[in-house]
């Protein structure tokens, strides 16, 4: 019996049936078919526990949401403390938590002026795109093919067909896509001087973290400047020290007009996101500050947590730890690749953002499954299933990192077996 006080289940099987019946049959069945029967129960640090009690090391982190691990004690204490005094707050009014957090956030980003809050990444992207349209009085938005910016109205239209067409939300006349790392294609798209914004993940996550070519992002930014288009950096997965610096764009020497952050900003315990903009872009905040409204956007509880998240990330110990973790995986994964070069064929890395390439169209699906069977949870890239997203947290310690590598090594024979089997991985 799984008694959670508020509700209870006889077994994991009963839970799965209920999830299919009342929640989401498609998602529930997808994972069952993929051989990943995970129902996350208890969680602590970088460990997840399935309802069966089995422990998994979390290398998915929901795209950096659990950058600090699950239920980081300092963040949990922060939220509890905030709950003794605040609630979500009233979005109509200025508030101490919002002002303090906005200041803290803006000060991490030279050149930026205002932080506009939302509750999720897509909402922050939405704010960025609306802001661009306001500032340029242009309508068109350019993004990259296989970019990913969320699933709300404007944001989903920037992304892959798979997610927009199904809801008739694709709008090809306003939303143009160009191939990643193709600077000429971008120039062709911007040349008409009718594009409000170019939005790009600093390293495209859902695409499997392909690395931008040398100078590519800078060239994109220059093209934007030349054609009066605003450059929006989507930092939902690349921000918050994951590249080794606070913001991924800083590590590429960029000066975006706006950037978007979410996921880990709320420490995995309270949803909050932000679109951070320059003075030039922030005009609508003067003209009609209530032009974008969100009851739960910039919740004061989230602001207190976010404030502490930034505070933690600025500590020298954390910065140093990120470098150690990045360096550890750089070395050990290269060694591992050398030993398994028949299947493991490439490593994309910047800081603790890694994409591991496997020599099979669905290679990462098999690896994800084999790792799961060996106690590690890492997800394949939805938009390039050759690539495993490998996302270690910024606070990982030596012992856990070593264990990850050992478990990965142990999973390799299983990877080969899955790739050889006629049924493939999933």
């Amino acid at each position: 019996m799984f008694n959670y006080g508020f509700f209870n289940f006889d077994s994991k099987a009963e839970l799965l049936d209920k999830a299919i019946e009342y929640w989401n049959p498609g998602k529930t069945k997808f994972w069952q078919d993929a051989g990943i029967d995970l129902v996350i129960d208890r969680r602590e640090g970088y460990f997840l526990y399935d309802m069966s009690g089995r422990r998994l090391i979390d290398l998915h982190l929901n795209g950096g949401t659990y950058n600090f691990g699950h239920r980081n004690p300092e963040l949990v204490a922060t939220l509890k403390s905030a709950l003794d005094y605040f609630d979500m707050g009233n979005h109509w009014f200025p508030s101490v938590a919002r002002a303090a957090f906005a200041e803290k956030l803006v000060k991490t980003a030279p050149g930026m002026k205002y932080a506009i809050f939302g509750a999720g990444g897509a909402e922050a992207v939405e704010i960025a795109l609306k802001t661009a349209r306001y500032a340029t009085k242009r309508r068109k938005i350019v993004s990259i093919i296989k970019g990913y910016h969320g699933h709300s109205g404007l944001s989903v239209a920037t992304g892959d067909d798979r997610f927009s067409k199904i809801f008739l939300a694709d709008r090809p006349e306003e939303f143009v896509q160009v191939p990643f790392n193709d600077i000429d294609a971008l120039e062709r798209a911007l040349r008409g001087r009718d594009v409000a914004a170019f939005i790009i993940e600093t390293i495209p996550a859902t695409y499997g973290f392909p690395m931008p070519n040398d100078g590519y992002l800078k060239a994109c930014q220059e093209l934007c400047r030349r054609y009066g288009t605003l450059y929006i950096a989507d930092e939902v997965q690349t921000g918050l020290m994951r590249t080794g610096m606070m913001w991924g764009w800083q590590s590429y020497g960029l000066e975006p007009d706006m950037f978007v952050t979410g996921k880990g900003l709320g420490g995995g315990i309270y949803p909050i996101s932000a679109c951070v903009v320059t003075e030039k872009c922030g005009g609508w905040l003067h003209e009609d500050g209530a032009a974008h409204i969100s009851t739960s956007g910039g919740s004061e509880l989230g602001c207190v947590v976010g404030h502490q998240v930034i505070d933690i990330l600025q500590r020298p110990e954390v910065i140093s730890n990120v470098h150690f973790v990045a360096d550890f995986f750089h070395r050990s994964l290269n060694q591992m690749m050398a030993a398994h070069s028949d299947v493991f064929v490439g490593i994309r890395q910047r800081g603790v953002i890694l994409g591991l390439e496997f020599d099979h169209p669905e290679g990462a699906v098999a690896v994800s499954r084999a790792l799961y069977e060996n106690g590690v949870w890492a997800i394949f890239s939805s938009l390039d299933k050759r690539v495993l997203q490998f996302k270690p947290g910024v606070l990982l310690d030596v012992a856990t990192c070593q264990e990850i590598v050992d478990r990965m090594e142990a999973a390799m024979p299983r990877v080969r077996a899955l790739l050889r089997s006629p049924r493939r991985a999933a």
Binding site: P73, E74, A77, T78, S81, A82, D84, Y85, M211, D214, T243, G244, M245, Q250, S251, Y252, G253, L254, E255, V304, Q308, D311, I312, R315, E317, V318, I319, S320, N321, V322, H323, F324, V325, A326, D327, F328, H330, S341, V345, G346, I347, R348, Q349, R350, G351, E357, L395, D397, V398, A399
Partner: protein, 516 residues
Amino acid sequence: MQMQLHEDAPRLVVPDRAEATARMKIDRAGWAVRSYARFDRAAVMRVTRAVAEAAHKAAQEYAEWAVRETGMGVVEHKRLKNELSAHPLVDFYENTDLVNPRVDAGRKMVEIPKPAGVVLALTPATNPVSTLYYKAILALLSRNAVIFSPHPLARACCAHAAARLEAAAVAAGAPAGLIQCIEEPSVPLVQALMASPKVQVILATGGGPMVRAAYSSGNPAIGVGPGNAPVYVDPTADQTLAAQRIVDSKAFDNSVLCTNESVLISLAENANRLERGLRAAGAHILSEPEVGKLRAWLFPHGHLNTAAVGKSAVWIAQQAGLRVVPSTRVLIAPVAQVGLDEPLTREKLCPVLAWATAETFERATGMAQMILRMTGAGHSAAIHCEDPQKAMDFAAALSVYRVVVNAPCSQGAAGFATHLAPSFMIGTGYFGRSSVGENIGPQHLVHWTRLAWNSDASVQMGDFGAVRAPFEGQAPAPRPAPAPAAAPLAEAGGMDRDMLRQLILQELRELTRGQS
């Protein structure tokens, strides 16, 4: 005013940042030591020497700072202690190899040194920077990482000194994070850290309760108990020399070393000769009423007045209402009894020496043991005599693990005027509720993995001459973070070059795939 204070108090409770950050330091140390533990001996000695040099150069600066910050001790003596804890300490262990495996073909055994890992080191207010230097060098010699938790009274000089040593280590090729210091030490914080499963060993120097807490933490600990050294001057000794050494020792850094003489014992027959020597060396011998005044000031309600710790004899005399000449170096208080009934025979950590006289050598030895029974067991004692039998009998009878002979005890027991290991951790062993009874050295921070062959003569061990040692030498430092926009050159040397290499590799692989 009261109201104002209340209104300014934080409305939200901020979680303990000091503890969260300290835990991150422990993880960081774990990373640093992972790499440092693979250094070969040459690299270890290079790092250690570089740190010793940085320590030596800053010896005066931190001597002044420590005295300023704590109000204890004497600058020139602190400088000397700092200097001794730099190069001479490394010299002492120059030939103690804690890095290379030992091969013993005769016993068919190979021993591989394994560093402890993360060392949590407490440093006292009395010898803050010298202890920090000493523990840092011990950690480096044994390929460990160290995190300091300084006594709050000396936290600024310690934090600064630790940062300086760390910088020197990094400049010499060590990984960052090998030498760290907690900025905001407090008792609850230290207790929390001592219990961390990621700390491999605690080096506890400090008050008794802190040492006991270290042993209660659940982690391996090396803690040393308090001292209270009795010193016996035998009639066979050169009384003038003995007196000079004792006064020098007591005046050294105003007696803050736990090895300093606490109670002088002589026989009635040499009392006069000794007294002349003591006076000549700069001691003020107190009259009976003066002893009363001093006792009242130094031990109000029977407890040591901590304001006296590390202060000069003249200052203490003034506070106690005694008149002494300005050149007075030590106050000597003749006492009729020793042990529990005479507080002046307890540990004082200031230039006050109790003086008891006995009729016989045996009685003197008994007195010394009585003093140690009260406090100071396992620590140090001293004897001045020319009779080896008496030295032997004295040492055999006492519950201490070192007896300094014909030398100042402050320096002698700490290895600076004897051939004992130079140390700011005087192991007080089982007598003093400690795990180690000798002066602590780097060898205590290493355990050995022993490969032991079948002892049967028919089983051969094989030739270890050509076997690779289990280290990589100095590992390259972790790659720097991608540099900010302002420094494009550094960026080219950072991640991007690796990325480029990856791309080339990838291209190569694709090329070869095409051919097959």
